[in-house]
């Protein structure tokens, strides 16, 4: 009657929720008792999942795809492990090896099972000495048992390919960029906690991605053009003179350099005879491929992050008290003052929770609720109006910016002032809105700030794409605009804000108040996201932009690091890094999605300028693809793609995706209900168990199990029918037994 219920087929999660599947508690999975003391049967399920190789890569996976091998920490092992002499080590290693040998797929002499053995070893929750013992015994027994059958040629080939692939992936991991700025990250984490460190990790990740993009675009686009420029046969002089101002405005001298689209030739570059370089094709393919690569990388990261934060944890924080105690302490903290602050922050949070218990009882009266809701609605409408006004003003500025030098300055200045000031305004507004949860306030402010950036970028893009017809070389002008914005943003948000922060610091110091403030993680992360958005908007028309942005990020890293170290103190409230990270990733993902869509539209339907750029002999940029691939127009795949990307096709795809998302969400909700039901079942089963143990004790009148009269004790609280046949020697020590037994007698 204690057989645990297996998963009923009706609720079998699909493969897509496979990660979710593995967080169902062990009692559901193991075929044996409810016990923590179950043996290692799940190695076989590990083997099932591990059919494909490349597993070194999996070790980064945070255990979500591994079945629960952990439970080989059997009581008899660990207890004797701690207290016994060395002889016991051998004994227990033998026991573990026996259990592992039960799984046939681990015992073969192939490279596949070698990988599986390594995985199983790593997951064994034993000490290092034990593991080495187990490993040597395992290899010995494997080599004894292996029947040397000759493997066929194809199998050998397959194995060697798999092994070299996984070695390659492992070497990539070795090259991993965790080395970059590792020391400073560790220092920040130790002194300020993992909240600030999450911002810097995000910055580092984006920096590495931009660096890769910059390298490729410099190497494949800028360098050939420079080679062409400097070769004797094609010397063109720059018609404009260099002015220092031009660095900031990106105008003038720079218009006719490799900075912008306009300067790139549409010819074949043939500096070295017989080695021609097709510039237009290269320009088109490099930019498109880099966009697609960035998109794919981001999509994968967002999916992984979302899965880790939301699916595996069933939608976020519950069990608030248990979480605070067990996950509250940040093990990376290494300084006394950070530790002090952390423990006081946990203290305040717990106190807050306790006091909220009392507050929760009082319900808001109807009038108060109504008033609050009205205020929220009104404020939201107000914010939308503000955003629309910002968009309109940007439009007007763009129109005016073509008339004269000063106008150009003004445009960039105004936009940057808006971006600096409005987030604080939003934050101030949201404080008065009285949301129930401070997290919701944070998310709403983040959302509004993000929308602000999106509106500005969108207006700029829209303006240029619409007015493309009239202008000469509009791509260069658009790229120059973006470059200007990037430089001004650098001046404002890095240089100016450092000055302001230092000023505040000194001011508060003289006013005898606490000079160190908290580092505003949200604001800085949004700044990076805005930056990244600018880069993607401009990259199509300015191959040198990634290098500029990479340099800017490099400077930002060191400036922010200095600021944090000298001017900031650790945060009072715990910054829930995991969930906000997911939101940031999603924001960035949505940005690149929208920007790629807009650029796709530009490539397809906006006429290129006929006087400059690598596509000046085409009408539309995408024609380069059609002219290079013969008879493309007749090709079925091409026609399918062209039809699908029409508005009707896209709408259909959107609707289908929406339906899919709705279905998955309903599935997740159904699973949640099932979990609730199962929890209640567990409680009832536990009550049953107690009742039956009581009955058993009454029947045997407190006697030790009459079957085993040779002094082998059985823990009465663990009596399950099949356990009579198992080896129960040395599983319970005497004091333990008496202590438990007393409870039921």
């Amino acid at each position: 009657m204690y057989r645990p219920t297996h998963r009923t087929p009706a609720y079998q999660p699909q493969n897509r929720m496979a990660a979710y599947e593995n967080t169902i508690p062990m009692s559901e999975r193991s075929a044996q008792s409810f016990d923590y003391f179950a043996s290692v049967p799940t190695v076989s399920s590990l083997a099932q999942r591990s059919r494909s190789l490349g597993h070194e890569a999996r070790s980064r996976d945070y255990g979500s795809e591994r079945p629960n091998l952990v439970v080989s920490g059997m009581k008899k092992f660990t207890k004797a492990y701690f207290t016994g002499p060395r002889g016991n080590l051998d004994l227990h290693a033998n026991k573990i090896v026996e259990k592992l040998e039960e799984d046939k797929s681990l015992m073969e002499d192939t490279p596949v099972s070698e990988q599986l053995r390594k995985e199983a070893l790593k997951n064994l929750p034993q000490g290092l000495t034990m593991k080495r013992c187990v490993k040597s015994k395992l290899t010995k027994s494997v080599s004894q048992k292996s029947k040397r059958k000759p493997i066929g040629f194809w199998k050998r080939l397959k194995y060697s390919i798999n092994i070299s692939f996984s070695k390659f992936v492992a070497s990539l991991k070795n090259f991993n960029y965790f080395e970059l700025w590792h020391g400073s990250l560790k220092d920040i984490e130790g002194r300020f906690g993992s909240g600030y460190a999450s911002y810097f990790k995000f910055l580092r990740w984006l920096f590495v991605m931009n660096f890769g993009v910059a390298l490729l675009s410099l190497g494949l686009l800028v360098v050939p053009q420079i080679i062409l420029d400097t070769s004797a046969s094609n010397k063109t002089t720059n018609t404009q003179s260099f002015n220092f101002r031009n660095i900031f405005i990106g105008d003038g001298f720079f218009i006719e350099t490799v900075f912008y689209y306009g300067h790139y030739t549409n010819q074949f570059i043939e500096v070295i005879p017989h080695l021609s370089f097709d510039m237009p094709a290269s320009y088109f393919s490099v930019t498109v491929i880099l966009y697609v690569l960035s998109f794919v990388v981001l999509a994968v990261s967002v999916a992984e992050s979302y899965r880790r934060t939301f699916i595996e944890t069933e939608g976020g924080l519950q069990n608030v008290y248990a979480n605070r105690i067990f996950c509250g302490w940040d093990y990376g903290i290494a300084t006394k003052e950070a530790a002090q602050l952390k423990s006081s922050s946990i203290y305040y949070e717990l106190k807050e929770l306790l006091s909220e218990e009392l507050k929760d009882v009082e319900d808001w009266s109807c009038l108060v609720k109504f008033w609050t809701y009205t205020i929220q609605v009104v404020v939201n409408i107000l914010v939308l109006v503000i955003l629309a006004a910002v968009g309109w003003m940007t439009w007007v500025l763009m129109k005016k910016s073509n008339e004269g030098e000063i106008a150009v300055y003004i445009t960039a200045l105004v936009i940057n002032i808006i971006i600096m000031v409005f987030p604080s305004l939003f934050y101030y507004i949201s404080k008065h809105e009285d949301y129930k949860n401070p997290r919701i306030t944070l998310y709403i402010t983040l959302g509004r700030t993000y929308l602000l950036g999106a509106v500005i970028l969108g207006t700029i893009l829209a303006f240029w794409l619409i007015h493309a017809e009239g202008k000469n070389c509009w791509e260069t002008l658009l790229a120059a605009e973006v470059y200007r914005l990037i430089i001004f943003d650098f001046l404002f948000s890095v240089v100016l804000s450092v000055i302001v922060d230092v000023g505040y610091f000194i001011g508060r110091y003289f006013l005898n108040r606490e000079p160190k403030t908290e580092f505003n993680i949200a604001k800085h992360t949004l700044q990076i996201i805005y930056n990244q958005g600018l880069l993607w908007v401009g990259f199509l028309y300015s191959p040198i932009l990634p290098a500029v942005v990479t340099l800017k990020m490099f400077i930002i890293w060191y400036v922010n690091q200095g600021c944090v170290r000298k001017l900031c103190r650790p945060p009072k409230r715990t910054w829930r890094a995991a969930q906000t990270q997911t939101w940031f990733m999603m924001m960035i993902f949505v940005s690149i999605l929208l920007i790629i869509a807009t650029h796709g539209y530009a490539l397809k339907s906006v006429r290129t300028s006929q006087t400059c750029g690598p596509f000046k002999h085409y009408n539309y940029t995408y024609e380069i693809v059609t002219t290079h691939i013969e008879d493309l127009e007749q090709d079925l795949a091409w026609r399918v793609i062209m039809n699908v990307t029409k508005p009707g096709g896209l709408a259909f795809i959107m609707i289908a995706l929406g339906i899919l998302v709705y279905y998955l969400r309903e599935h997740a909700l159904a699973n949640r209900d099932k979990v609730k039901m199962l929890k209640e079942t567990l409680v009832w089963l536990a009550k049953d168990k107690k009742f039956l143990v009581q009955m058993y004790n009454d029947v045997t009148k407190g006697e030790i199990n009459p079957h085993l009269r040779d002094n082998r004790f059985v823990d009465p609280s663990r009596i399950l029918p099949h356990e009579f046949t198992e080896d129960v020697s040395s599983s319970v020590d005497e004091d333990d037994f008496h202590a438990r037994f007393k409870k039921y007698s």
Binding site: N123, L128, W329, Y347
Partner: protein, 193 residues
């Protein structure tokens, strides 16, 4: 690599790579675990350790918790050392420290971390986290700022939230169930070397 290659033989390195979550490069270059281990008690630990010495030479608990910078400010440092030491008293050998760092590294999967977290919070080693365990944990975390009544209340709330089978304490499964739903566990249960 030079000098560092001499501290471990090839065989040892391969063993470590197979049994921990570190890559070969990390063990050799970045971690400098051996150096740290030496710094704790230079008189006990030789420059080059042979096979046996990696297991037999132990550094006493008091020195570890004082001198290992990653553990110095941790309220659970004593308990961590006890869990990872072979004799249960907290005296760590080189392999124990390597084990410790491997479990706390970023590549260790969630299951292993949960397992060791449970062992750490189970102060009296009875395979359950009872009210006394929770009390000790709270005292260590708060450095005695909470009043006993507050502590009692918090403990009751925790048991209420997490205890499923109604025995008044948390078994491993219940603990695992709570922890797997905490999104922050992986990022906090992590020591960067």
């Amino acid at each position: 690599m030079g000098n560092k290659l001499l501290t471990f033989t090839e065989q040892q390195l391969e063993n470590y790579q197979d049994c921990t979550f570190f890559t070969r490069k990390e063990i050799l270059r970045r971690l400098r675990v051996h150096k740290k281990f030496r710094e704790i008690r230079p008189d006990l630990v030789p420059k080059r350790m042979r096979q046996n010495e990696q297991v037999t030479i132990r550094v006493p608990l008091e020195d570890v918790v004082e001198k290992l910078p990653e553990l110095r400010e941790n309220p659970f440092k004593q308990r961590i050392c006890e869990v990872f030491s072979r004799d249960g008293k907290g005296n760590l050998s080189f392999e124990d420290i390597l084990d410790l760092l491997s479990v706390f590294s970023e590549q260790a999967p969630r299951d292993i971390k949960v397992y060791y977290a449970f062992k750490i919070y189970d102060f009296d080693n009875d395979r359950h986290i009872g009210t006394e365990d929770l009390d000790s944990a709270l005292v260590l975390l708060m450095r005695q700022e909470l009043s006993p009544e507050d502590r009692q209340q918090i403990i009751e709330k925790v048991i209420e939230e997490a205890d499923v089978d109604g025995d008044g304490k948390l078994s491993f499964m219940e603990f695992e169930h709570v922890i797997t739903r905490a999104p922050d566990f992986l990022s906090t249960f992590h020591i960067r070397i």
